[in-house]
């Protein structure tokens, strides 16, 4: 079972990093206590993983044939890529790191299923674009509804606070359902775990990351999101959740951060304001491009180290 440790570590770092997308704005603005947000996040991640995590697991395990040793190598390579990219302060996608690491191994073994990979790459492109399109639509539709409700200051406040909490829970559910595959799918392919066990272990490790180590990231990322007004923050979180959930149904693990970034850009378009600096966008593009390459590189190195 110690083989699983690399996967659990990956899940833990995923939870620690991605929790900011769920409740960052609510916690930073002190609408919600960190402890409550973390517990809610962990519960809904686990629910999502168990309920809808299977499709992503099937896709990832279908990319190549891995034995237990190779699965562990790919998992460690992905974790290393995530760590290195985080250290370089570049935005990372665990999904891209995992797929990059698997592709690295698959290339060496000559066992790469390009059909599945094509679907995954298309979805990577689709994530920020999807986030953007959903947020543009949602901002307009929800805006009309919100205005028609004619809420007073306190009612509007309740609406937005509840909306942020509920959409945060929904985003946690979508994150669990979508990203659990990144954590344990390779071990399902290697025959170590059943899909249900993989969902539970993956969900728990992401949840553990949220509870134990997400506070700092949540405060950093959340303070960026909170610069948006509460309504925009609600649209961003909800759009991110809808986008990630859509790709969960498609069966491809994607990056919740990229969906949220797309949504932030979408809000900027509707409001004709600049929500993300060019420099940040550049870093996101570099991270987006480099993560799978770095992960593939690490898996190749690790493969040769373990072979010799």
């Amino acid at each position: 079972m110690h083989y699983l440790l690399s996967g659990i570590f990956l899940g833990w770092s995923l939870g620690a990093n991605d929790a900011a997308n769920l409740f960052g704005s609510a916690v930073t603005s002190k609408m919600l206590k960190f402890r409550t947000a973390a517990i809610l996040g962990a519960i809904f991640v686990l629910l999502g993983a168990i309920w809808q995590g299977q499709a992503g697991i099937e896709t990832i395990k279908g990319l190549t044939l891995l034995n237990l040793k190779l699965a562990t190598i790919s998992s460690i390579a992905a974790a290393l890529a995530v760590t290195v990219m985080t250290f370089c302060r570049l935005p990372i996608s665990t999904s891209q790191a995992v797929v990059g690491a698997i592709v690295g191994i698959g290339l060496i073994k000559g066992q790469l299923y390009l059909g599945g990979l094509g679907k995954v790459v298309v979805c990577w492109f689709g994530t920020p674009i999807g986030g953007l399109l959903v947020s543009v639509t949602l901002y307009r539709v929800l805006g009309v509804i919100y205005n028609r409700l004619g809420l007073n200051l306190f009612q509007g406040d309740i609406f937005l606070r509840l909306g942020l909490i509920i959409s945060g829970c929904y985003c946690a559910y979508a994150l669990g359902a979508n990203n659990v595959a990144n954590v344990t799918a390779v071990f399902v392919g290697a025959g170590l775990l059943s899909i249900l066990a993989a969902s539970i272990i993956g969900g728990l490790s992401i949840g553990l990351g949220i509870i134990t180590y997400s506070k700092g990231v949540m405060e950093t990322v959340g303070s960026r999101l909170v610069k948006l007004d509460a309504f925009s923050a609600l649209v961003v979180v909800l759009s991110g959740a809808i986008t990630v959930h859509f790709f969960t149904i498609v069966g491809v693990p994607v990056s919740a951060s990229q969906a949220v970034i797309g949504a932030v850009l979408g809000v900027g378009i509707v409001k004709s304001i600049s929500t993300i600096r060019r420099q940040t966008l550049g870093a996101i593009a570099i991270g987006w491009f480099m993560t799978p390459i770095v992960a593939a590189f690490f898996s190749l190195i690790l493969y040769f180290i373990f072979q010799t």
Binding site: L151, L162, I165, D229, A230, F231
Partner: protein
């Protein structure tokens, strides 16, 4: 909202405190009016006037304490940041109104001002309209928290009151300087008139602020 009510307990407390705050301000304004009634009746400062000045100060001071309580509660994780900021700024602006009333009474008391009787009628009207504006502003705050549709009507009324008070203020100053009073007395009374006219200016500013808060909440 039943199952989530625990999340909004502090919000309810803030709402209640704001209404208590408004009641205190209303009390300060009532005492201000009574103090002037006494002054106009006696034509000078008196013990009763001093007592009502002290009562005005007490109500103003109480409202400051309530405002502090609201601020503390706001920073203890109640409301979304925009609402917190808007409410705090709004209360700060509203607070200027009883401060102004208190300053006027202190001016009369400390400088032992003798207001010439030929100014009484206009001054009474100025006070009446100013306090009517204060009442309308409190109505606006309540509308912001209860039913925002009422805001427009109240805003127009407050704006009209400000124009009327400006006219009265100018008329008072003209009449004052047309009189044979000593120039020093004229200057002192002019300062008092300007301060009295400031009440509706402040209510108008609060009214505009409330409108901006309301407009900001439209998507």
């Amino acid at each position: 909202m039943g199952i989530f009510s625990f999340l909004f307990k502090k919000q309810k407390m803030i709402e209640t405190l704001i209404y208590t705050y408004l009641d205190n301000i209303s009390l300060a304004e009532d005492n201000f009016l009574k103090a002037f009634d006494v002054y106009f009746e006696k034509g000078k400062c008196s013990k009763e006037f001093d007592l009502l000045t002290a009562e005005t100060h007490k109500a103003e001071s109480n409202s400051d304490d309530i405002r502090l309580e609201i601020e503390t509660l706001m920073y203890a994780k109640a409301l979304i940041p925009e609402s917190r900021e808007d409410i705090l700024e709004l209360l700060e602006s509203i607070d200027m109104i009883p401060n102004c009333c208190q300053r006027i009474l202190y001016m009369i008391q400390t400088q032992n001002l003798i207001i010439p009787s030929f100014l009484y009628t206009d001054m009474k009207e100025l006070i009446k309209i100013s306090l009517e504006s204060c009442l309308l502003v409190r109505g606006e705050v309540k509308a912001l928290f209860e039913e925002q549709k009422k805001l427009q009507k109240l805003t127009i009324a407050i704006d009209q009151n400000e124009s009327r008070c400006d006219q009265i203020e100018r008329r008072l100053i003209s009449r004052l300087f047309d009189s044979d009073l000593d120039i020093y007395q004229k200057i002192l009374i002019k300062e008092l008139i300007l301060e009295m006219g400031d009440i509706t200016d402040r209510t108008n500013r609060v009214s505009r602020q409330i409108n901006i808060i309301s407009i900001k909440r439209r998507v």
